[in-house]
């Protein structure tokens, strides 16, 4: 079976579903591909609440949030194919792409003008954090443990240690405690937590779970099953300090040590990747350096709120539908040293209408109190905004009108943060 669509969305999580709905609304014939049996992505297992405060003004659980978007698919002409894998994407000579897929009906090819990559992200695993010792059962990523508890209804541990203070780790500390497990402690190699402050409060403080900053797990013990881990203090270079070793008996080590955007599906196309976000480089319509290929959601950069994922995905979906072969004129958005990253990384200045309301997302590179964000265009201050606090784990978003600042092909737009002097 070969068929053709205007927009193919790869990934049926919150980003993919929102992008598909937005693309269809803008008049495109849309095909949505999901490799799992059910749409919803990671939110299927994120049963905790706090989703949707910005989007719906309500505190929803993950399934509730994503099912509201899935409900929007019914009555549309969007073709949805679950249990479907993308095995390759080829660029056609006349603008367009051929996507090879495999599902229960066999292998087939989809021809499309535009693709939205909404493949989400993956968790860093034990192999990526270099822990010594044996290789027993009982080492889980936080998302893996979450799948056991919230989807399968099985407890992966009676007493565990959590390494890393990412939000999923904090959420799992609470979840496992509620279900009767003992969480001996959360250990973070850095000197500040990576998760949101409110999660430190409501997931750890509420349940008297200790958070040990500047600590890491250096070794695991156990043959068939984990029996203990070795904990060490670390110095300012995050190197373990000899003599501070402590053994903690437990049956599981749960890792919450970061997320990496997943873009394997487009590796063969050699689209430029931002080394900071680990996602594809995009302009304000979320188009990558390869014409007709868009990226959104956690595949683009890891978001801390799904509300931002939906918002970005809707922009990507709409633009994928409106995509025409017009020549783009891209200029780079320059992040100075106090900015960890900005998404989009570049601006398409070919169409003034697309400069009026540019959505920008950024993170600071360190903690700032009383800070000022400034945007300079060609050396002149163009925009500034004051912030009481800026922290790397808390993403900020802005809407900027770039239509009246005389952008030219060789313009320089530079972003920086400075401390406000009182």
């Amino acid at each position: 079976m070969n068929s053709s669509y205007d927009v193919v969305v790869i990934g049926g999580g919150p980003a993919g579903v929102a992008a598909a709905v937005a693309a269809e609304k803008s008049g495109a014939r849309v095909f949505l591909i999901e490799r799992e049996a059910r749409l919803g992505g990671i939110l299927k297992q994120c049963i905790h609440d706090g989703f949707g405060l910005l989007r719906f003004g309500e505190k929803l659980s993950g399934p509730e949030y994503v099912e509201r978007y899935i409900d929007m698919l019914s009555g549309t002409g969007i073709a949805v194919s679950v249990l479907t894998f993308v095995t390759g994407i080829k660029k056609l000579t006349d603008d367009g792409y051929a996507i090879s897929i495999v599902n229960r009906e066999g292998a087939s090819t989809i021809i499309t003008k535009s693709i939205v990559i909404a493949t989400g992200c993956r968790e860093r695993t034990a192999k990526q954090v270099f822990i010594h010792g044996t290789r027993p059962a009982g080492v889980f990523t936080a998302g893996n443990a979450q799948y056991y508890v919230n989807i399968l209804g099985k407890m992966p541990t009676k007493k565990c240690v959590i390494l890393g203070s990412g939000d999923i780790g904090l959420i799992m500390a609470r979840r496992l405690t509620l279900e009767g497990a003992v969480v001996e402690g959360v250990y973070e190699v850095k000197n500040s937590p990576s998760g949101l402050t409110r999660n430190i409060v409501q997931c750890l403080h509420d349940f008297n779970i200790p958070l040990h900053l500047s600590h890491t797990v250096t070794r695991v013990f156990g043959e068939s099953r984990l029996t203990a881990v070795e904990i060490c203090k670390v110095n300012e270079k995050m190197q373990p300090i000899k003599g501070t070793e402590r053994i903690v008996d437990c049956d599981a080590l749960i890792l919450s040590v970061g997320l990496i955007p997943e873009n394997e599906v487009v590796y063969d196309l050699n689209i430029p990747i931002d080394p900071k976000t680990k996602g594809l480089v995009v302009d304000q319509s979320f188009m990558t350096d390869m014409k007709g290929i868009f990226s959104c959601g956690n595949a683009l950069h890891v978001n801390d709120l799904v509300d931002y994922v939906s918002e970005g995905a809707e922009i990507a979906g709409k633009n994928a539908a409106e995509y025409i072969m017009a020549e783009r004129k891209l200029i780079k958005l320059d992040a100075q040293k106090n900015i960890l990253y900005i998404v989009p990384q570049q601006l398409d200045i070919s169409d003034a209408a697309k400069l009026c309301d540019v959505k920008l997302y950024f993170r600071s590179s360190e903690d700032f109190d009383n800070a000022v964000l400034t945007i300079d265009v060609d050396g002149k201050e163009f925009f500034k905004k004051k912030y009481a606090h800026l922290r790397p784990p808390e993403m900020e978003s802005l809407n900027i009108d770039f239509s009246n600042c005389g952008l030219k092909a060789d313009s320089k737009i530079s972003f920086d943060i400075s401390r406000r002097t009182k």
């Binding site: 049963i47 659980s61 399934p63 509730e64 508890v149 509620l178 279900e179 430190i200 409060v201």
Partner: protein, 119 residues
């Protein structure tokens, strides 16, 4: 003065709270909900509870649920104990009530997914 982090929304404002409970001064909040939170936190701390309930259906062994409001913090483990004693036998919809008036709090436990009817 007491400092606390407001957990109402992802902003996580750092609140400085002064005075007795009937006459609180709260600074540091970016919205009025901060003061309400500080008052409740000092008098009767409450939390929403999200968890799962066992089902009789092998295709979805657990159903995600939550409280439809907040319950007193000290009743969380009582609520968990009750919820974990249940098995759901009917294909209940998202938003449907799973437990009425959980552990006498006046708050219901509701389903947060259509997982049982979508399969």
């Amino acid at each position: 003065m007491i400092e606390m982090v407001c957990i109402v929304c992802p902003n996580g404002c750092l609140l400085q709270v002064e005075g007795a409970t009937e006459n609180l001064t709260v600074s540091g909040a970016r919205c009025p909900r901060g003061k309400t939170y500080a008052f409740s936190e000092l008098t009767n701390p409450t939390r929403s509870l999200t968890t799962t309930v066992k089902t009789a259906f092998p295709d979805s062994p657990v159903l995600p649920v939550r409280t439809d409001g907040e319950i007193p913090k000290e009743k969380i483990f009582d609520a968990m104990k009750f919820i974990n004693s249940l098995t759901i036998n009917s294909r209940i919809k998202r938003g449907g009530i799973v437990v009425e008036n959980i552990v006498d709090t006046g708050i219901n436990i509701i389903s947060t997914s259509d997982i049982l009817i979508r399969i």
